[in-house]
Assembly symmetry: D2
Homo-oligomer: 336 residues x 4
């Protein structure tokens, strides 16, 4: 059916709103009808310059029966209420991770979130990264036999402004949360124990705000399999996102794509081009792929890959890591 | 101005028509209004399934004053007449290379083609490849000092059907033509002498059709700089497209992108993922970039990067190569 | 002085004896006079085939005043007594790691070992590996600013025979001991706390013998810096020995050398040659370099790079790891 | 037989004499008895410092019946006479390439050189390089099916002193000669036609001395297979020595080894360590391997891999290249 596009609205005109909006606006599978943000100047600018859509209120969105889906890209503390309102209105939801930073709030709405009246997708975008998907496919195909250990590397290029830290939820719930989800996805089971060590080595302002910026964690599964997570808020060499999977017959290594294949050969050696400077460029393909997945959900040909369960699973690991760090010992992960 | 899209038509529903059409149909910068192809079933299928546009005749296109540009992706022998008709009708043209296989025909229309009444872009897409552009930028920035020698590698994964050969124009005019253009672009001058050696090593049917499938050429500039071109119709390992530039202070090497960064480590060694299997995937970014360039041309903010001059320059090198192969000696390149 | 060679004896005709002996026998800096091993058939075969030296008793060695140095490559449980006897006889010693597996025994002889009457070198060979030395040199030169985190990867290709396990001292004292030394060397300080998680995932016979074969450890320094160690007794892809050092301005990565630079390009991708299958090949250059260092020691132009202090430091980390694994918590490293 | 060493003499205390001498002096398979060089100070210094041998005259060497082999590492113009004298005296010869620069002189002694009274090895060392041998082995094993095209890259790091040029024999006979031999070895046949283009782009002093410093050649075999050779006297990035072999099922690529596996990751990209700065380091393993081959020859367990035939074959290609360059056309290679 040529021209069949799903009518959607976008909530949030900030950084992620722009990332999502540009993809949706340029996709033949969506009709982006509305952009909602209380900061009307931001909304007008984004809608006019790039998104070719109308600025509206959240009520307008809910009231438009033609809107099939809503993309929630607002600040984290607003996610849950917006999601619940959309689901109640029967609209499919694409929500930036996390659904919420608080376990108690998630659980309070477990019933509707776990069996939502409309599809709920929570954006753990890394599962859609083509490099990690290629690794997962070979893993599932048994190319290295049984998986035994895993190493997830997530190094940010540079720390966020200190003002971001207090509302971030802390390193484990804001940042490592992606790695916790990756661990669950790649291991095919939820680790049962966690040990975490973390420090503030990068920016004293982060310590002053009560957080850490450098962490190493070990997750242990009931099967005995081990997963190491490496995190830093500042690498000094770009946005480093890698997965190393070790099995009984070999290893699978998903490395960093580079901005080009160019190598410069000089007496100093061979310089390969930079890796990507940030998430928006590194994960561009995954952002496109997960919106394509959302289009499939809206068309009724797919069910959301990740929703409440994945959100809860990752948050339980983050909370366990927080306790481990405080207590200086390995701790059990709470059951969902 | 949100929503400002350039209205265009696409001529040709074949392989390249589909490549171009999909990009145009999904771009927010174009409104693809018409698809033209005498093979109406092909046209209907492509228009309906992917392109969301109307099937029309070439006359319809010319008659629609709202059509700003035409993308010519038909068979090579029709290019020149279609281009001339479009230009005469005041429509900007995006034409697949080559404009024409015959030097005499190009020259017969030199006046209008060199100073066309509407912009004329001829699609030497490799100049828009991000890897080659990165190399060119570093070259121009003097990173390796003066360029001295160049090596262009273009190896196809598998030979075309033998039926394609007789109308192809032969290896040098159909295939090496891209390398001739790259040589002119990267050297910043047109080589003045050519030596070519070519054989049929891949498929005897190609020899039977009077052509070769494996070639090595050396181009020599007035400055003494040398350029080697390596061509084969069948590599056995994918679509190999590389540039090596050697200068007084080092070298710049643009390698093959791979389908993912995945490496599989086993006792046999470390297997890096495949390179791309064909031009459509390998050069996807360049196809997008040159259509973006055409959108800029249509918006009046750019003039075509390559047109008649580039077409003529590359063809003169191809004709020199043909003479060299026949005569077994280095030959001078005819002046434009 | 042409021909000036240091006269030495070799104790041990086993695996490491052969590795050391071949280098010494072929070096112009040594005169290998004696080979000692109670298994006289082994000794005769090795001496005759490769080492061009005389089979003798340990007493013969001690009695020959011309012998300047002794290379101790016997089984671990004999190291300490042999070393003490050699030192007492005024002979410089090159001893395979470890000096001893028991902290109490090391400490009982601390006085003589820490200030030995003749030079004592304990072979932590990895400090002499050219790849790791290159990394250390750039680290010391400040190329990545302050070092923050470290990752040491030591993966064996295949597990040892189960019969080896009971006398090995266990994974941490037999295997990880090298990583503990590397951590101390590269960090420039001894970590003060350790957390270890280890499992038996490779071979149940290892568990039956009371040991583990797969481990992940985190070491923490007083400065807050963190070091991860990855160990497995069986990689499935060769002898994987890497160092990753992360600092404030970038990272230094010492990878695996390969048996050749050959790449095989096929439709499956680009296969780089295997890494080395075992320590003898991978660390050949380091074995040569540390014997060259010993020659320097014998010539009086160097003092041993590692001796009692390094042995004790690494063993204290191993013992802390053992306690951590037992107790499930981070533990403090005992002071020397 | 422990201690069985072949007694040899070394002619030449220059650059290659030192390279060869150090290996021989440190090998357990040789007894280096004499060093011969008319420049007695050079000879004394080298003999005393590194080689632990006696300075002698050529007559001394010939007169010592115990000398089984002679290593000829003198200046090129003396090779042939020395070789003939040694062979006549019944001594096996290891001669640096080339035997002679003049075809007429080689042919004048064809009878004795082709069927020498004692073994004659001419040092085309690249055939012993482990990377190229690995490539050859996979080629012979049919890993890429039938070989179709070959690319040999030999780029020197920096030009020789201009004073070297007049006696060098010119680029093709001094430098490309190695590539001609590699082509013959890897193709398994002697190319029958050659085209050469060469320029002086690096150092005008080389042109003033009547030579060129940058060349590209194409060799063509009777089978139609093509081989490109790339040469420059100055790369600006080290000693670049690579082989690329393209076959019907894929390609084999022997790249440049690096001084270490270290990579430095920064915002500029990932810098791999330098390649080797010169032949002595790059080809160290090949120099060792070919002397080991000579030891085998002396022990009677091997016959020389390359001798008169290889010398003649490579020289005929060099002479053809010289003619091609002069005539501007492809030329036939003279029959041996």
């Amino acid at each position: 059916m040529p021209g069949a596009r799903a009518k959607v609205a976008l909530l949030g005109a900030g950084r992620m709103g722009e990332v999502r909006g540009r993809i949706v606006a340029h996709s033949p599978r969506f009709e982006l009808a509305y952009l909602v943000d209380p900061r009307s100047d931001l909304a007008e600018e984004l809608a006019g310059d790039y998104l070719y859509c109308q600025v509206a209120s959240f009520d307008d969105v809910l009231a438009d029966a033609g809107v099939a889906g809503v993309i929630v890209a607002t600040s984290t503390d607003t996610h849950l209420d917006l999601v619940l309102a959309c689901l109640e209105a029967g609209k499919a939801v694409f929500c930036e991770k996390p659904l919420d930073l608080e376990l108690s709030r998630l659980r309070a709405h477990a019933k509707v979130l776990a069996n939502p009246p409309a599809p709920l997708y929570v954006a753990f975008n890394r599962r859609f990264d083509p490099h990690f998907r290629a690794l997962k496919a070979k893993l599932d195909a048994g190319l290295i036999g049984a998986l035994e250990t895993l190493h997830l590397i997530s190094h940010d290029p540079a720390p966020p402004p200190p003002s971001f830290i207090p509302t971030s939820g802390g390193l484990f719930r804001d940042f490592t949360i992606h790695d916790f989800d990756m661990a669950r996805w790649l291991l095919g089971e939820t680790p049962t124990e966690v040990f975490a060590w973390a420090e503030c080595l990068v920016d004293p302002a982060i310590a002053a705000a009560g957080d850490v910026d450098t962490a190493r964690l070990i997750l242990r599964c009931a099967s005995g399999r081990l997963c190491v997570i490496s995190n830093t808020r500042r690498s000094g060499y770009g946005y480093d996102q890698r997965v190393e999977a070790f099995g009984e017959k070999g290893a699978l290594m998903a490395g960093n794509p580079r901005v080009s294949t160019l190598e410069t050969w000089s007496e100093a050696g061979a310089l390969a081009a930079s890796i990507f400077p940030g998430f928006w460029a590194r994960y561009d393909a995954s952002y496109r792929a997960e919106l394509d997945h959302f289009a499939d959900v809206l068309m009724g040909v797919a069910t959301p890959l990740t929703g409440y369960d994945a959100s809860l699973g990752a948050l339980l690991l983050a909370d366990a890591a927080t306790r481990s760090l405080r207590e200086g010992r390995q701790v059990a992960v709470e059951a969902p």
